[in-house]
Symmetry: C2
Subunit: 439 residues, 2 copies
């Protein structure tokens, strides 16, 4: 047996009972996959500093678990939980309604809140931090981005001494699963999506994931926590991954790249440049090597340079670790005399722009005929855009011929009018796919 | 301009002066590269929550900087700092003497301490945590491992809800620089070392780095923070990288591997398996891809699975970020009513073992003669060790012929007697190099 810093047994028992009394009272609202995993950790591995008092869910009777101690109250009455003496409410029901009202009500009565709700924090994070601060409570949301990867806690602690100016990440495991499946098996997008759905990595309606809604909510939270910037998720451009074709991975490979859904935010002076969507990234870069449903976040700081965080971005257990870690942090603050987490007072509201200057990948599907390249080159030249390379792999049908033009770095805003002009060309049988190339 | 959550100017000024008064008083002892970078961040980027009161160094007169505010006291008298009203002492002189006495004295008088001193924390961390706790102060040491990479803060916050059972890392930038130089340029060890010294990545006497003393101190700190295990650094076996030859990278490449100095600790029941030294790692693994002087730490948890942290492991500015982040954390705790960081009470003292079970890489330099392979195979067989592969690349001189045997997984303790027997063979012109192969 390892030697523990030991105490006489009687004293230890007394200390344990004392600890039980001084334990922080915690109520759990939402008993789905994550909620269940949180309860399990609290019941199995607790160090006595946290005591689960309530589990609240609809139809709670059929949710009951034998491993939950008998003194935990099972209820479907949220109001009863909010009126109880629980000091921390864990909100794990997700979505805005009724989660927002529950969180506001808990904070309003001086309770602290731990939540994994990205939509709620992305939209109302600054307000809720302010509300918590004014009522003497805290709100923590470490599980709302990148699941178990401790990016938000690192921003709060180990990186708070730096001045960050950039954050970029693979924040959506569904997109990464689908893109890395197309990359590795060269299957059509639709097949990769079906496979992800069959394996439980994508929902029946995966729009939030595929079209970037999920990732941009997470990016807004990272911008708040790391760049002290208030960003409405809707103000960030989100580009879908639905248009990505297996052939795009062939052309990307020619350029030493693969394709990933990247969420990025760069703070320059008073403007936050932000974008979510598929990008070309070098195959041997940190982003290019992220496979399956993992998450990766890179931060760039004035003093500390670049840092990378990699891990499981979702799943009940990893997300539950983030929730329990937040609980322990809040409980420690409460026992030290109350939440003093600095509120949203140092948060600025920068202008949001998607006008990044990057090289570009343009992929066309055309009905082959003479003069196509000349026509496209003419349009690009008229907009003063420089072609970097022109790629056309053999072996495709003339009726639906894919080829690629890459452009030297230029601003998004300058490229856009050229793309519109190209959209009207009669030989284009699909809209041009336009992806930033990140180096 | 970004819109800030604004206040009337007069009120803001009043609030600023109030903030100045309520700011946490911080004294800096040690004004070398890191100390200077810390002072610079405090003077340039402060949010008003920290006020630098003293800078203490030998021969302080020639250290003075024009960018330090005039109300900061420059002194070479440590006692004056310890007797001052500073609430937090930053110890950046390094080494055990007099750093240990200074830290004990500061903690003993109820001050808090932030330090980057790995030797001090590796040897006395649990005691110092206990002392701080008993006197109402705190001691933080986020900068003592992996410089600016926020591993220790992540262990304290985002991962504290997990039960970690393993930690492994590239913790010494000097070794990684040298090994990745030999890998990329196939130069001799001595040349890579000279180059590292010329570029300031290695000291004139680099023994602490090369022979693993530095890395095992850091591993002991990670084991304390992440595995709640008290580990005397000397109890961890440290193997040198001095015996690594350029030819080892050729043979490693044959096995799909490269060579890195890896520090690892695995907690299994009541035993902590720990080792520091060069290992074969797959070229396309996270460890294999770490180049130059970067640091990488992987953690393995029961609930959250594997996490990776990558960044600059040393350097003034990144290390200073870790120090300032710790300062902000301590200041926040103090303003919330005092340090309540749980002390070393949940720390156990496991048995330490280096008896990992892994596959092995054995490299011999021999004076070629008939029967060498037969003799070695005979010894291995007598010890019931299974050969996995035998590699002999052409083109070497017979008088100093390198060749490699890899073994199927076996325990370190079983391999050792065989190695001793081999050491006595007359054809061996160098001791056998024996490296674990990590998969």
């Amino acid at each position: 047996m390892p030697k523990r810093t030991s105490k006489p047994a009687a004293k230890a028992a007394a200390s344990k009972s004392q600890k039980q009394n001084s334990a922080c009272r915690v109520a759990l609202i939402g008993f789905g996959t994550v909620g269940r995993a949180v309860a399990k950790i609290l019941c199995e591995s607790g160090d006595g500093s946290l005591r689960l008092t309530h589990i609240c869910n609809r139809n709670v009777e059929r949710k009951k678990q034998p491993w939950v101690p008998s003194d935990v109250i099972w209820t479907d009455d949220v109001q009863a939980v909010l009126k109880s003496d629980a000091q921390i409410v864990i909100e794990l029901i997700g979505g805005l309604n009724p989660a927002e009202q529950i969180v506001r009500s808990a904070l309003g009565s001086g309770k602290s809140v731990v939540t994994a709700n990205k939509q709620l924090i992305a939209r109302h994070g600054p307000d809720l931090l302010q509300l918590a601060s004014s009522k003497g409570g805290q709100i923590e949301f470490g599980a709302s981005v990148a699941g178990g990867v401790p990016v938000l806690p690192a921003l709060r602690t180990g990186l708070c001494g730096d001045k960050l100016h950039g954050i970029a990440g693979i924040l959506n495991g569904t997109c990464n699963y689908i893109l890395s499946r197309i990359e590795n098996a060269r299957i059509p997008f639709s097949e990769a999506l079906e496979e992800a759905q069959a394996r439980g990595y994508a929902e029946a309606d995966a729009s939030e994931d595929l079209d970037g809604g999920d990732a941009r909510a997470k990016l807004a939270i990272l911008a708040l926590a790391g760049l002290h910037s208030r960003v409405a998720p809707e103000s960030v451009r989100a580009r879908t991954i639905r248009a990505i074709d297996a052939v795009d991975f062939d052309y990307a490979a020619e350029l030493g790249c693969t394709i990933r859904q990247i969420s990025r935010a760069d703070l320059k002076a008073d403007t936050l440049f932000a974008d979510v969507g598929p990008c070309l990234v070098p195959t041997d870069s940190p982003f290019g090597r992220v496979q399956r449903n993992l998450n990766l976040v890179l931060t760039s700081g004035q003093y500390g340079g670049d840092m990378a965080f990699l891990g499981a971005g979702a799943g009940g257990d990893p997300t539950a670790v983030a929730v329990v870690s937040d609980l322990m942090f809040v409980a420690q603050s409460l026992s030290a005399g109350g939440g003093k987490r600095s509120a949203a007072s140092n948060v600025s509201t920068p202008a949001i722009s998607n006008d990044f200057e990057t090289p570009w990948y343009l992929r066309f599907f055309v009905r082959d005929q003479p003069g196509i390249v000349a026509r496209l080159a003419q349009i690009l030249a008229a907009h003063r855009l420089n072609i970097d390379s022109l790629l056309q792999k053999p072996g495709f049908e003339k009726s639906s011929l894919p080829f690629v033009i890459t452009l030297e770095p230029c601003r998004d805003a300058l490229l856009h009018p050229a793309l519109e002009e190209m959209a009207g060309l009669d030989f284009a049988i699909r809209p041009c796919l336009c992806l930033p190339i990140l180096r």
